[in-house]
Amino acid sequence: MTASARKSGGSKTSVPVENVAHLLSKAVGDEKALEIVRTTCGTLGFRTDTALSLDEALQVLETIAEQAGLLGVTARFAKSRLHLSLL
């Protein structure tokens, strides 16, 4: 578990980076979605060679959701879908 997930005492559920990207792929396609998620993980200091914790995945989507336009709206929508599917 990463420092961030430990700090938040987060869920033990893990989410592969590819799965987080898939939540955005209908808006931007697989390739761009994976690039955005990896870049955002890097910015947040999360490793991408292992699965993200649920808290980390939600933080990634929350960060992307701050962007204006379709990508931001899709990330906001994906965040609520991820919550529902895993909680």
Binding site: H22, D30, G69, L70, R76
Partner: protein, 392 residues
């Protein structure tokens, strides 16, 4: 109370067409009062006249409307005409209209949903119904925002208005209020679930191409070159097989051409199709929804036989969501399918009716379709057939 679906189609002036449609619907409905009337009008019958007349003819119903690129009922498809469907039964429908969809999609969606209650006592199911102007470039964003505001459990169906391939003004209506750059959002409250099915049959004909310059729904450059140049180059071989040379198209032919060769975003094993609607003077292409810069797209096309199969599959999927038999349906069908199928388009419409048990249906040819089920991550589609089936 059983469901009764009445459909009608008529041509002539707006006044003539709406008089005939109101009479035919009333005749089929008998003493039943419709909860919903949807009207699909070509650009030959101004939507303002059509919507006003039918709203006055059916004051008991929510009357929603859109301009089209073709209209149909189970009896066949038309151009330059009006078709309509009336739904009577255990349903309540509430909706509204929001404008300024291009500049402020959030505000437009909120305005449209302002008078829509979260629930309706005695009606345990809700289905969202959307009509929007695709020229706003915010089809997907508006759909996701609507789903967010209506709640996670809602199913959405709908279509993006057309304008007979003019690509200049697409209108939607709620009651007597008609607008372009607008969205109509309504909720059908029902005692049994409605079914929503969607399917497309497009496949890629190009290698992955990177969108190197875009803003909102406007794609300026692909692979560092003007988007149109890349489109013409990549589609030349496939278009040649059906007798089209993209380099010699007249301005009035470009819209129809682009609707045959749409963009596909890879999403797992599927392709999410995005429709370019028009070519701009600088060679950029305007899409019905946002295409973020950096996206990888494939140009796609559809094959006629598979288009008919896809329509039946959409109907089958919609029927599977009902708890019993279907009483009828409203269908949102991409104009590209008509362009591909030509004279055989009518058989695709008949196939939908047959798949649902030979029921009445009405719909229109769209510039985009809306279908979102609980759990889906996207709700705005292109090249698809969307079937909204009503339970008996």
């Amino acid at each position: 109370m059983s469901t009764l679906i009445a459909t009608a189609s008529a041509s002539g002036s707006a006044a003539e067409a709406t008089t005939q449609i109101a009479d035919r619907l009333r005749s089929k409905l008998g003493d039943r009062a419709p909860a919903l009337v949807m009207v699909f009008a070509s650009t030959s019958q101004p939507l303002q006249e059509v919507a006003s007349a039918l709203t006055q003819a059916f004051p008991e119903a929510a009357v929603l409307g859109t301009s089209t690129s073709g209209e149909f009922t189970e009896a066949g498809d038309t151009k330059d005409a009006v078709s309509a469907v009336a739904v009577a039964g255990d349903f309540v429908v509430r909706g509204g209209i929001g404008t300024n969809l291009g500049a402020d999609p959030d505000g437009a969606v909120k305005a449209a949903l302002e008078g829509v209650p979260a629930s309706m006592e005695g009606f345990s199911h809700r289905t969202g119904l959307l009509l929007l102007d695709p020229l706003s470039g915010n089809g997907e964003m508006a759909t996701l925002l609507t789903a967010s505001y209506l709640g996670e459990d809602i199913r959405l169906a709908g279509g993006a208005a057309g304008d007979d391939l003019g690509m200049t003004r697409c209108e939607v209506s709620c009651g007597e209020r008609v607008a372009n750059d607008a969205i109509v959002a309504a909720v059908v409250y029902s005692k049994a679930p409605l079914g929503v099915g969607v399917c497309h049959a497009h496949f890629p004909i190009s290698e992955p191409l990177t969108v190197t310059k875009s803003e909102g729904g406007t794609v300026s450059e692909v692979e560092g070159r003007p988007a149109w140049d890349v489109w013409a180059e990549q589609t030349k071989e496939a278009a040649g097989k059906v007798g089209i040379d993209p380099n010699t198209l007249g301005e009035d032919e470009v819209g129809a051409f682009l609707l045959r060769y749409e963009a596909g975003l890879a999403s797992g094993e599927e392709y999410k199709i995005r429709a370019p609607l028009s070519r701009n003077e600088d060679g950029s292409l305007s899409f019905a929804c946002g295409i973020p810069q950096g996206s990888k797209i494939r140009i796609t096309e559809g094959e006629p036989a598979q288009q008919i199969v896809a329509a039946r599959t959409a109907a089958e999927r919609a029927k599977a969501q009902l708890e019993g038999e279907a009483a009828g349906a409203i269908v949102f069908d991409c104009i590209c399918r008509n362009l591909i199928l030509g004279d055989t388009f009518g058989s695709a419409v008949k196939g939908i009716s047959e798949e649902l048990g030979g029921v009445p249906l009405a719909g229109f040819e769209t510039y985009g379709e809306i279908a979102l089920d609980a759990g889906d991550l996207s709700g705005f589609h292109n090249t698809t057939t969307v079937v909204l089936a009503f339970p008996e």
